[in-house]
């Protein structure tokens, strides 16, 4: 096993109307979704979401939370017709999640593809903003995770795993990894504490909002490891690990490393190849301490008393990965894995020597460099509102106004995927997962699809009284290789379904 597995990224975007902080974010988010949908000719009333398979209260530890006890924010499976919710031709889901528009990428099989379809989501959101700007003041969207006033919203990663891997093993090895990972993948934040009461700069947007080690909640008492058990796939075979702790990333390298290193650690967990127990004495406290230390010099205490910096913790995982890959692949893993291992070592080495060396790869380093530049030039301190303004506007999705995008256009970041590839991913699905079937059906037969979800497409065939639900519980079926020719020769959904029936009959 390598960095390759079925994976995806869901991003909740910050949303704001210039000059109107009390504007209703749920309605605005609906406008963002509908504006894009109508531009693409996807009627939101059609190609809506199939909620049949949502089970947000099922816990990976083996029970289901009593619905009556759940916080309203956990009931993500109730169909509300006023909530805009569409599936795009690239297989992504674009919808309103509580009070934020969310882009949930299609399923991909590599970190590079995850990065590509995540950036495609940024383009989708930017397009929506452009359209809505025709009616001033328009709506602004931000690829970030907090307003600095106590609210936080997520960028979630999803990793398909084998069901048979004990959840306790996942927790044991991932907790220390996530405490440390933010030194590579944190996006930087002005302000310490959930409501930024202490002036300063920290590595991660999200860390202050995490209060427990393991749990089912996603909107309060956030856990380092989320136990939601909703595979959207054959439940006996698969687990979908739902990771909520990460920041939204802009840098290609940081994003690649986030998905790639995590996937590799999961591979080692699945193969029982992690021979070091890096369990921390106080994981939640360490999570906060690491985030609050941009010098990267503070150590965290392991349960056995050893003290390591976060970078040293990550080197431990890297060494285990290196050994694991040598044993299995004689030091010659696939190109995706080699790419992740290369950047992992490059970034750790830079962070260890002098963090500013990583300004082209790591989001928090680049942001800190700009902020410290302002402090030096204008004699500010960390409580100056201009610094918080830079922090917020860093993630504005508009290429002409978003600070990250302006700096990227000036060539200040390492680019792994070019704009042309990302542009194609806005409309085209990944070829190697069921997203291919979903996205292609939506492109070819938009008027004959009643609803779609991660694991189904529901067709509405003219002349037929009942809807036809095609289950897609295998994420690696429905690829271009397996169904491409069949789709190519089916001019309408009726033909497609007939062909599918005879192929399986």
């Amino acid at each position: 096993m390598t960095v390759r597995r079925v994976m995806g990224i869901e991003t909740e975007y910050g949303i704001s109307v210039p000059g109107d902080p009390s504007a209703n974010p749920m309605i605005l988010s609906g406008q963002v979704v509908n504006s894009y949908a109508s531009m693409q000719g996807i009627r939101a009333a059609h190609a809506s979401w199939d909620y049949a398979d949502e089970a947000p209260l099922r816990d990976a530890r083996g029970f289901e939370m009593n619905r009556a006890l759940a916080d309203a924010s956990q009931l993500t499976d109730e169909e509300d017709p006023t909530l805009a919710n569409v599936v795009l031709t690239n297989g992504a889901r674009l919808y309103v999640d509580h009070a934020h528009p969310e882009y949930s990428s299609p399923e991909v099989t590599s970190p590079r593809a995850a990065l590509t379809w995540d950036r495609a989501g940024e383009m989708v959101m930017a397009e929506s903003v452009r359209r809505l700007s025709q009616v001033p003041p328009g709506v602004n969207l931000y690829k970030n995770n907090t307003d600095g006033k106590g609210a936080s919203y997520g960028t979630h990663e999803n990793y398909l795993m084998r069901r048979e891997t004990p959840f306790t093993d996942i927790v044991r090895h991932l907790v220390p990894f996530f405490v440390a990972r933010q030194v590579m993948c944190g996006s930087g934040r002005v302000g310490i504490g959930q409501d930024s009461r202490t002036a300063g700069f920290q590595l991660s947007q999200r860390s202050d909002f995490f209060e427990v080690e393991v749990g089912l909640e996603t909107t309060l008492k956030r856990p380092i490891i989320n136990t939601r058990d909703e595979p959207h796939a054959v439940a006996d075979l698969y687990r979908r690990l739902h990771v909520i702790i990460g920041d939204a990333n802009h840098c290609d390298v940081a994003n690649l490393l986030k998905l790639g290193t995590t996937s590799l650690v999961l591979a080692m967990v699945e193969d029982r190849a992690l021979d070091h127990d890096l369990t921390l004495a106080r994981p939640v406290a360490s999570l906060h301490a690491v985030s609050h230390d941009p010098t990267l010099k503070e150590t965290v205490e392991l349960r056995d008393g050893e003290r390591l910096t976060a970078v040293q913790v990550l080197w431990r995982y890297h060494e285990m990965a290196d050994r694991y890959l040598r044993e299995r692949y004689a030091g010659e893993p696939d190109a995706d894995t080699a790419e992740v291992m290369h950047w992992w070592a490059v970034v750790l080495d830079k962070l260890e020597r002098e963090p500013t060396l990583a300004a082209r790869e790591v989001d928090w380093v680049a942001k800190q460099q700009v902020l410290e530049g302002y402090i030096d030039r204008d004699g500010m301190d960390w409580s100056d509102p201009r610094l918080r303004a830079v922090d917020i506007q860093w993630s504005d999705v508009r290429p002409e106004k978003g600070i990250f995008h302006r700096l990227r256009a000036a060539g200040r970041f390492e680019e792994l995927v070019d704009d042309e590839t990302v542009l194609a991913a806005v409309h085209e699905p990944p070829p190697d997962t069921r997203a291919y079937f979903r996205g292609t059906c939506l492109r070819k037969y938009p008027d004959q699809i009643a609803a779609a979800s991660w694991d189904s497409v529901i067709f509405d065939i003219p002349g037929q009284t009942s809807l036809q639900r095609v289950p897609m519980l295998e994420p690696l079926r429905g690829t271009r290789a397996s169904v491409g020719p069949l789709l190519d020769r089916s001019p309408d959904a009726a033909t497609l379904l007939r062909e599918l029936a005879s192929a399986s009959g």
């Binding site: 704001s16 009070a99 609210a151 100056d384 303004a389 600070i403």
Partner: protein, 68 residues
Amino acid sequence: MPSQEHSRPQRRDDAPDEAPEPTPAAPEASARKEDLDSDIDSVLDEIDGVLESNAEEFVRGFVQKGGQ
């Protein structure tokens, strides 16, 4: 994409190709700082051009509801 060469960890004593040659700490640090300073100044000028004009109002107006 890099070629599939060694994936062994590159540590301080085994610096990767793109690192500068090791020099005494103080001169290296101040030389880099000077480069960064002029470099950053032009970056700040560019950002000044797009930053919202009233920072306090902008920050105050950015209020979100909690999400997942």
